[in-house]
C-alpha cells in the first residue's frame, strides 16, 4: 500500500448516546489501524478516546472490533483492507461502553481477584537441597503457552456465555480465566485444587466449546483444546471418580446439586 487517504468510520459516544462518524485521513505505507487513529486524534478529534500502550502487540490494551472482527488495533495493518472502502472501528461489545472505543473491562479484574493464589509445594530435600525448585522444560511448556496471555480480553469479548444477557450473576469466569485456572492446575509446583470452584462458581460447564475464543487470540493460545477441554475433563474425573463418589454420598446423603446456572 502506498500513501493514500482513507475513510475511518469510528464509533463516537458514551453509554447514553453515540453515532458513527467518518474521518478522512492519510494512511502511510506499513501503518496499522492505531497509527491512523492517532493521526485522527492529533489533527481532527483530540478527544477521541482509545486505550493503547505498547503499540507492539505485547500489552493487550487496544482491543476493538475492526469491520466487525475483534482485533488489536496495533497489530492490524492497513493494507489488509480494500482501498476505497471505509474501515469501521467499534469498541468491543461484551463490556459496558465508557466512551468512543474504550469499554469498562472491570469484570475481568473482579474475576482475577477470585482466582485462588498459586500454592507451590515444599522443596524436595533430596533433589532440591539447594533450596531451588527443579522443573523439566517439557513439563512447563503447556503452562508457558498459557502465560503468553496478554489479557487483551478479546476471548472474553467473543464468548457467547459472557455476551448472554442472562448471565447476570457473573458466575462465569470466561476463557481468559479458564486459561489462568488451567495454568495453575497444570503448574508442576502448584498444590491447590480449584476444580470444585470451577464447576460450581466459575461456570466451566457453561462453555459449549465453540472455539470462538481460540480463533481471536492474538497470542495463538489454544484456549479451547489445551485449556478448557482438559479442565472439563479434570472436573469430570473428580466428579465421577467412583470411589470419591461413594465417599461423597456417605458424607453427604443428598443428591448432587445441578450445575449452577447463573441465569436461573
Amino acid at each position: 500500500m502506498t500513501d493514500q487517504t482513507v475513510t475511518m468510520r469510528l464509533w463516537r459516544g458514551d453509554a447514553e448516546q453515540g453515532e458513527f462518524r467518518d474521518y478522512q485521513v492519510d494512511a502511510q505505507e506499513g501503518e496499522v489501524v492505531l497509527d491512523v487513529i492517532h493521526r485522527i486524534q492529533a489533527t481532527q478529534a483530540g478527544d477521541l478516546a482509545v486505550r493503547w500502550n505498547c503499540k507492539a502487540g505485547r500489552c493487550g490494551s487496544c482491543s476493538a472490533e475492526i469491520n466487525g472482527k475483534p482485533r488489536l488495533l496495533c497489530m492490524t495493518r492497513m493494507n489488509l483492507f480494500e482501498p476505497g472502502e471505509p474501515i469501521t472501528v467499534t469498541p468491543i461489545k461484551a463490556f459496558p461502553l465508557i466512551r468512543d472505543l474504550v469499554t469498562d473491562v472491570s469484570f475481568n479484574y473482579e474475576m482475577a481477584e477470585k482466582v485462588p493464589a498459586f500454592a507451590p509445594r515444599a522443596k524436595d530435600p533430596k533433589t532440591e537441597a539447594d533450596g531451588h525448585y527443579r522443573m523439566a522444560q517439557r513439563d512447563i511448556e503447556r503452562v508457558q503457552e498459557f502465560r503468553k496471555c496478554i489479557e487483551c480480553f478479546l476471548c472474553q469479548n467473543v464468548c457467547h456465555v459472557i455476551r448472554d444477557p442472562h448471565v447476570t450473576e457473573r458466575a462465569f469466569a470466561g476463557p481468559r480465566f479458564f486459561v489462568r485456572y488451567a495454568e495453575l492446575e497444570m503448574h508442576p509446583l502448584d498444590t491447590s485444587d480449584r476444580r470444585e470452584l470451577l464447576r460450581q462458581r466459575m461456570g466451566l460447564g457453561l462453555c459449549n466449546i465453540t472455539k470462538c475464543c481460540t480463533e481471536v487470540c492474538p497470542e495463538e493460545i489454544h484456549i479451547t483444546d489445551n485449556a478448557i477441554i482438559p479442565l472439563k475433563e479434570r472436573v469430570v474425573d473428580k466428579r465421577y471418580d467412583p470411589i470419591r463418589r461413594v465417599a461423597r454420598r456417605l458424607r453427604r446423603p443428598k443428591p448432587a446439586e445441578p450445575p449452577a446456572h447463573p441465569g436461573s
Binding site: 502511510q28 478529534a45 478527544d47 478516546a49 497489530m75 495493518r77 482475577a112 481477584e113 496478554i150
Partner: protein, 599 residues
Amino acid sequence: MSEYESHEFDVLVIGAGGAGLRAAVEAIAVGARTAVICKSLLGKAHTVMAEGGIAAALGTVYPEDDWKVHFRDTMRGGKMLNNWRMAQIHAQEAPERVYELEEWGAVFDRTDDGRILQRDFGGHRYARLAHVGDRTGLELIRTLQQTAVHRRAEVFMECTVVNLVTDGTRISGAVAYRRETGAFLVFRAKAVVLATGGIGKAYRITSNSWEYTGDGHALALWAGADLIDMEFVQFHPTGMVWPPSVRGILVTEGVRGDGGILLNSEGRRFMFDYIPEMFRGETADTEEEADRWYADKSVRRTPDLLPRDEVARAINTEIKAGRGTEHGGVFLDIASRRPAEVIKRKLPGMYHQFRQLADVDITKEPMEIGPTCHYMMGGVRVDAETAAATIPGLYAAGEVAAGLHGANRLGGNSLSDLVVFGRRAGMAAAEYALGVEGQFVMDPAEVDRIAADAVAPFERDRGENPYAIQRDLEECMHTLVGIIRTEAELKQALDEIAALKERAGRVAVEGNRQFNPGWHLAMDLAPMLAVSECIGRAALERKESRGGHTRDDYPDTDPEFAKVNVRIHRNGEGNGVRVDHIPLPEMPAELAALFEEQH
C-alpha cells in the same frame, strides 16, 4: 477540598510496573496500608515490553559466575559512574529476587537439569539472564500483578498523579485525577514511592509507551528532591526502522545473545572496528573467536555484544558514513546463523513482530534495525540502602531512580533493578510511614490550585494543540539532544524547550473531562517539558563523553568528570532549576580491587 474523592494511606505507590508492584507487595508485608496508582490498566505497564531477561548471577549455566562478576560488569558497563553500593546490593540480591518470583508462580525457561536457564547478553561476562523466550517482562508483570492482587493491594487504575503535596518539609500526599471521568482524587499519604519509569515519549524514535512522560522525575523535582545523571539517556542499538510506523519498536538484545550479528550494507561485521580500549581485553578481535564464544566462555566475547552505548554509537557512525541500509538502519542477521526452529523457539515474539508488522521472516532474511530511545539512566537521587529520595517520605525505585546504572545500563539489569530496589523502597517507605509522628498537613488551597490549573485547558477557546507541542518536543529532543550532542545544539534545544513551555501554557483542548486523551496529553506535557529541560541542562554541563552521553565537542572521557554526578534541583524561587556537581560516593578498597584484576 471536601468536594474531591479522598483517600488516606500509609504508603502510596505511583506506578504499577515491576518496581511499583514489588514495592507494594513489600509495604503490605510490613503492615502498611498501601495503595498503587497507575495510568493504565493493571498489567499493562511498560515492564511488559521487556524482552530478553532478568540479570542475576544464579550460576546455573556457568557456576563460576557470582555477584562480584555481576557487580564488576555493571560498573564497567556504567563507565564507573554508578553508585557502587547500589550496584553491589543489586548484584548480591538479584538471585534471591529471581527465585522469589518463581515461588510466586513465574515459569522461567529451564536448563537440562531442571534449573533456571540463563542467556547471554551485552556486557555480561557469563550467560546471566533468566528468561521466558523473549517475553520476560510479561512474566514478571503477571507474576507481580497476581501476587499484589492476592495480597489485597488497593489499586487505582487509570489514574494520573499531577502533583505531590508536602507539608513544607516532608511528603503529605498527592493529587491525581481519574482518566475515565476526569474527577480529581486526593491522597493523604505519609510516604510516596515513585515507580513511574522513564521519559522516552520526549523523543521521536523510542521503544517506550505513551506512559513514559517522566512523571516521577518531574514530581520529585517539583517537590524539591534532587535528580542526578539526567544527561544519560540510553539509545538501544536495535529498534525496528521499517516500515515508518513501527520505527523504534524494540528488537531484543537476545537476538545477538542467541547468535545474531550486525552487518553494514557492505556485508561487513563492523563491530570489530569499534572495540573501545576499556573492553579490548575481554572482546574477541576475530570472527572465529567471536563465534566460538557462544559455547566456550574461555575465549573473548563477540563485539556484537558490547554494552549498548558502544553499539548504538557504532551503528550511528556506520549509517552516517553511508554504509547503512535503504531505510537508514543496519542489518541484524540471525537467519544465516541459527536454524529456523531454534529462532522460532528462542525468539517467538521477534518472529511474530517482524512477520506481522514488517512482512519480514527473520528465519530467512536479516532484520533492518537502528538506535531507538530506550531507557533513562538518570533520575531521582536515592539512598542506596532504602531508596529514599532527598526529601522525607519520598522514595524512588526502578527507572525513575538514578545511580545503579551509572552512565549506561546493561541489558537485563533493569528487571533485576525493579525487584531488588522495588522491594527495598516498599520496605523503607512502610517502616517510615508506620514510625513517623505528627499531623500531616495538606493545604486545601494548594489542592484547589492544582485542580484549577489542570482544567484550565478547557477554558481556553483557541489555543495550542497538545499533540502538536508533543510532536515538536520529540523533534527537538531527537535532533538536538540525541545520541551525539554539541554545545550549540544543546543551547538551541533549551531555547526551543523554553518556547514550548510557553506554548504549553496556552494549550486548549476540546470535549469534556470524560476519558479525553487530548486533555490527558495536555497534562503530560508539563512533566515531559520539565524532564527535557533537565536532560538538556545536564548534557550541557557534562563536558565530556561517557556512556549514554556523547559530546562531539568533547569526544573523550575526562577524569575530573569521572568523580562527579551532575545534580539538578529546583531553584530557590521555584521557577526553574539549578545545576551543580556532587562527588561520587567512594568505593571501598576491597571492591575497587575487583577492577584491578586482569580479565
